[in-house]
Structures are given as structure tokens and as C-alpha cells.
Subunit: 387 residues, 2 copies
């Protein structure tokens, strides 16, 4: 008898990450004894900060491992509100904070409460690949607008106004961006917000890479208005990747819906991770995190000129995150094939542009500087020999 399984239609529109296949192949090569320089992974190489480990171990030993309210521990929501006050000078009511299982959980919640089937969400191409997949999952349509170095690979108010149509429900921007590491200047973000507000739409700002900014200081979109949805994560600056913990700050009017949806989809974010997040705000942890930020900056300052020197075109200096988005058309017109070659023949794992959209994707690679200076130098040595 035939298996009755066949995919729901939405699965045709949801692509797997190419990098996962590359990563699996890299692991197989390593198992065979090959040495691979990992510049593909969007995960900091640093361990969980020691004060966080101590706090979580204490919480687990005490038995603080029961379900929390769906929007998170109230002490953690308070701490997040305090973080905005202290870091950005912005007052945020703790009641507007929703703790989520990673920023992924936050994206699913916010799109779940605002987006009807058939409605569209404006976003930049290249951009974080899950964004368009979340939209497809909810039967919406993502309008991925090709962006170039001219706008620092970001949407602008002008671009938003030009692409807005009657189906548009929301604009989703990321500052700093994955994969390009570029920011949206606050004045531009304000202009985008005004357009969105005039159109009666929703502005969602992904601030997941806040904290990892190497020039100037990122401002939060929460300074603009109480109607913006801001998404953040403890995975990147705070380094708590595998714990799966993030948050969002939402308009007060949306909180009851978000609470209701979180109850159903997740029950709550993992409790040990919530205690980890709480300890991530402690001064001792923050000192460690600032040292790590300095290490990331040093890596960027090495890798950026090194790649340019080899012939990769990186027209905009990325100010944040831990990625360089490099044009490789001097070497190839098929960056997926090129990434496979770099892995198999050169022992370097990088992410092909196809994972971030279709805008000149075949001409781009993303290099992550989530590995040590020594390994980055080894990677550059290998690249140089090969090229």
C-alpha cells in the first residue's frame, strides 16, 4: 500500500538552508580526517559565559525548571525593560516584553498575530532566509526587494513607498543585517516608520545583532514609537545559542494576542534558558561580552581587508553582526558550486548567497567570523593558495 504522505502546498515554497548540507558534508570530511576552517556558521564560537553557567546550575539545582507564564518570567521581562532603559535610555513597559523560544519564536508570533493569508511583507533581498519562510508558512507572501550597496543593502523609505501595495501588511527590516552586517541609520528608520504608519501597516525591526556593532552605537527602533515590533535574541551578543531564548517588545495592543498564541504554540520559552538570560544581564557577564565584542571587531578588521586583497568585492564596510557578504564574481558565476569547491578542495566552509535570496545570489558568499583569528588566518592562507 502506498504511503499517504504528501507535502502540504506550503512546503514547496519553503527552502532548506543550503548551508546545512554543506555543514553536514564538512562534518563528514572532518570525520575522514580533513581539517576544515568553519566560516559558515552563524553561531559565536565562545562558550556560555561562566556567570551564566553558575546561575543556571543554581536554578536547576533549586528546581526552578517548571513551566513559566507564556510571556516569560516576570523578573526576566523586568530585566529586559531595564536593559532598554540602561543601554538606550528608552522607557519600555515590562508588560510589553514577550520572552520567546529564540528570535525564531518571536518571528512566528508576530507574523501569526498580524498577517492574514494573501497579505504581503516587504523585506530586503539578501536577507535572513527564515523570514520569507515564516511568511509562507502563514500563507502570506513575502515581497523580497533587491537591494544593493547603494542603500547599504537595506530598505529605505523611498524603496518601501515604491513597493507598498494594497496587499502589504508589514515591513520587516534587520539592523544590523544578516548577511551583510550593515545598519539602517536611525533617521532612515524613522522615515520608513512614517511611511508604514501612513499606510496603516506594521513595522517589524530585527535587532538580533544589536550589541555586535563596531562603529558608533546602534539605536533601538523602540525609540521611534510604541507601535513598532522589535525582535531580539540572547543568541548573538549574549552568546546563548543552543539555549533557544529571545524576546520581542510589542505594542501594548498586541500583547493579549501574543500571549494567547504563545500559550498555544510553545506553552512558554524553556525555563533554564530564561534563568540563563537573566544572568546574561549581570555586570560580570556584560564585561565578558564586551571583551568578546572587541574580539569580533579585531576579526572583522583582519578579514575585511584580507578578502578584499584577494579580489572579493565588499563595497560597504559592515558595521555589525559577524558576517561579510562578498561578491565573488571575479572567480565564479555560480557561488553554490564555488562554495562546494572551497569546501572539498580548499577546506573552507562558507555560505552560498542562495541561502539569502535570489538577488545576485550566485555572485555572493557569506563569510562568518565566528572562529578564532588563527583559524581565520589559516582560511585566508588556503584561499590565497587556491586563488
Amino acid at each position: 500500500m502506498m504511503t499517504p504522505y504528501h507535502s502540504a502546498d506550503r512546503m514547496q515554497g519553503i527552502q532548506p538552508f543550503r548551508v546545512m548540507e554543506l555543514l553536514a558534508r564538512a562534518r563528514r570530511l572532518e570525520a575522514e580526517g580533513r581539517d576544515i576552517v568553519h566560516m559558515e556558521i552563524g553561531e559565536p564560537d565562545f562558550p556560555t559565559p561562566e556567570p551564566v553557567v553558575r546561575a543556571v546550575t543554581r536554578a536547576i539545582a533549586k528546581g526552578d525548571v517548571h513551566y513559566t507564564p507564556a510571556t516569560g518570567l516576570s523578573v526576566l521581562r523586568d530585566a529586559i525593560a531595564g536593559f532598554y532603559r540602561q543601554r538606550y535610555g528608552v522607557e519600555v513597559d515590562a508588560a510589553r516584553v514577550v520572552v520567546t523560544p529564540g528570535a525564531s519564536g518571536a518571528l512566528l508570533l508576530v507574523l501569526g498575530v498580524i498577517l492574514n493569508p494573501g497579505q504581503s511583507v516587504l523585506m530586503a533581498d539578501p536577507g535572513y532566509p527564515c523570514n520569507r519562510n515564516f511568511v509562507r508558512f502563514l500563507e502570506g507572501r513575502s515581497l523580497a526587494v533587491p537591494v544593493t550597496a547603494d542603500s547599504d543593502y537595506q530598505l529605505t523609505a523611498e524603496i518601501v513607498a515604491r513597493h507598498w501595495d494594497e496587499t502589504t501588511r508589514a515591513v520587516l527590516v534587520a539592523s544590523p543585517s544578516n548577511p551583510t552586517g550593515t545598519l539602517i541609520p536611525q533617521a532612515e528608520l524613522r522615515a520608513i516608520h512614517e511611511i508604514v504608519q501612513q499606510r496603516g501597516g506594521i513595522l517589524i525591526v530585527d535587532e538580533i545583532y544589536h550589541g555586535l556593532v563596531y562603529k558608533g552605537k546602534a539605536q533601538t527602533a523602540l525609540a521611534l514609537d510604541g507601535d513598532v515590533f522589535v525582535i531580539n535574541s540572547f543568541s548573538k551578543y549574549f552568546g546563548l545559542t543552543g539555549w533557544r531564548i529571545g524576546w520581542m517588545v510589542a505594542p501594548q495592543a498586541a500583547i493579549a494576542d501574543l500571549d494567547k498564541l504563545a500559550q498555544n504554540l510553545f506553552l512558554a520559552a524553556p525555563t533554564p534558558a530564561q534563568y540563563a538570560a537573566l544572568a546574561a544581564f549581570e555586570p560580570e557577564t556584560r564585561r565578558i561580552l564586551e571583551q568578546r565584542r572587541a574580539a569580533f571587531k579585531q576579526r572583522r578588521d583582519y578579514l575585511l581587508p584580507a578578502l578584499r586583497g584577494l579580489g572579493f568585492d565588499i563595497p560597504v564596510n559592515p558595521q555589525g553582526a559577524f558576517y561579510l557578504y562578498a561578491n565573488c564574481e571575479r572567480f565564479t558565476d555560480d557561488s553554490l558550486q564555488f562554495a562546494e569547491t572551497l569546501l572539498e578542495q580548499v577546506g573552507i566552509a562558507v555560505t552560498p548567497g542562495l541561502d539569502f535570496g535570489s538577488n545576485q545570489a550566485e555572485k555572493h558568499l557569506r563569510f562568518a567570523y565566528t572562529t578564532s583569528m588563527e583559524r581565520l588566518e589559516e582560511g585566508i592562507r588556503r584561499l590565497k593558495n587556491y586563488l
Copy 2:
């Protein structure tokens, strides 16, 4: 300027859990110094087993807190496959196991990969409230079929055949059931599976309360056929609630889709929870869990006759889970109001039937025996005085 927030249509069809409001009110009463007997919470009162605490603490200290593959640590998938071999004598390929952020994550994934908008899922009313909300979230329709004591509050093959129509894509059953604690006999489940298979549909079996069965031994639906989706959790028998960790076993043909969707929706289940789950299978842990199962049985054997003696009608002896679903029409025709009265005036928190559907919901309450014998006895004393 008006806030542009308004809910997506799906939010109208998704209800919050009434019990959450009751729980919040109970907490406020406790803060005022009142003593409340908690029989509302679907969370075992036991702490994380000591061997699990030790194993997790070790993993965290070692730095095993990075992202895992989207389908979970391969050692954990192997351990889950081994669990089916050892406990049920059923061979399951580890490649068919998907580790998820709680059983909630598994439900979202399986419905995500099989269900198109407008398609319907057959399920029992009363039943776990999130099931119909997951279906609504994905623009599907849940067909909640009223079930009675005549079928042990479960769907039967006859009921499935009678309600199947051209929009039906899947049947979702839970054995043991929340809120009724009843099981589906394996022969009946086989008959349901045959009907579903004949119709070219999908059978999803929620085995979340497996392990907490007090008479006989539950058999897994995986013994029927490789085309069944089975969902399970580490929250109930294994007692790892706040960790948010569960799993599913799926047909081989669905694994690539599930992997892809898990990558996008979750990245992966929380890593510390995966190490906790791994330790949950150790013999030392299993001995502790079996003692707890005996404690739950003792509680059920006390609470069931005690409630009946007070005039609650519980026509079927529940064989599993930790719930009693009691008809309270002798006392009220509004169980929500009655639950509020019991909380405010009697100091007992229970869950109103409305949380589980609309089938005679106003005549039912769910009592959870997730608290100690002493507290259950205190609850019965208070109830007796009041009634």
C-alpha cells in the same frame, strides 16, 4: 495617531486557556495569604530527577550548549529509537525520529507539513485545546467530534468513518487522553488506522501520556504501520516540563520536510533539554520515574472514589495520564462559574470543561492529581464541607 495594530483573522478562532486566568487569580489569592489546593495544572509536582540534573550540569559545564541539527542530537534520536525497541518491542529507525521543542513543536511541525488551508482534522471533543488552535493557526479546520463515555471519550473507527468527508486530511487521537485519562484499545486504533489509510489520510497519535498508565500497558501506534505520525513528550512521564522537549516519529517520506520546517521554525530544540532527555532514559532515572508512576496511581485510586462519593459523575475509570474528567451537573450548569466559586470560596483550583471543547463543557471539570496525597485530601475535605 491610531495604532495600526489589529489582529489577523486567525486570532478570532484561537481561544486563550481559561485555566491560565484562574491560575493567575489563584496566585493573587496566595499573595494575599490564602491557601489554595492546586488541582488545575497539567504539570507533575515532582522535581527534575537527580540523575538528569547531574547530567545536564555536566553538559553545560563542558560547553555542550551549541545549536544541534534541526532534528536533534543523533545520540538522542538513537536513544529514542532504542526506547521503542526496549519498551514496546517495536523497531524504529532513528532516522525517523525528530526531536522537538516540546510536543507542541511536534504538533506544529506535523500539521505544518501535511495540512493545506481549508482541509480538516478530525479529533475528539473533549480534547487537548491546543490541537484545534494549531489547526486554525495553519488555516485548517478542526472537526471536533463530541464523544461520550460510551466510547471511553475516544474516537472509534465507526465515528471516524461517519465523520470523514472530502475535506478531511487527518485524524488526531490522544491515548491516554487529556482531559479524560482514557485509552484507545489497540484493536480499535488498528481499525481507525485502516479507515484512515483507505481514505488516503494521515493518522496522528498523541502518546504524550504514555508511561503514565496504571492498568495494563499502553501499546504504541508505531506497531501498526510506518505511516503513522506519533507524538511524544519528555514533560509528563519523564517530568521535564519547563525544559521544553518532546519528539515525534514520522514516516520516512516526511522526514526531509520536517527537517526543513524545523530548521526554519525552531533551528533546533534547546540543547540543554536534549542532554536532559538523554539522561532521562538511564536506568537510575527510570527507577525514579517508576516510583513516581506508583505515586500517581495511588493518588488516582484515592481521588476517583472520593470525587464519586461527593456526587461527581465519572462514568469511565481513567487508566492513564493524571486527570479525572468529572461531570458536575449535580452542582451546577455552569462549570466555569463553578470553578471560579471553588477557587474564591473553597480554595481549590480546577480546570473548567470549556478549556477542552464545547461538548457538555459547562457540565464538566478536570481535576489534575499533580499534587501530593496530603493536598488532595485537603482538597476533598474542603469540597465536602462546601458541597
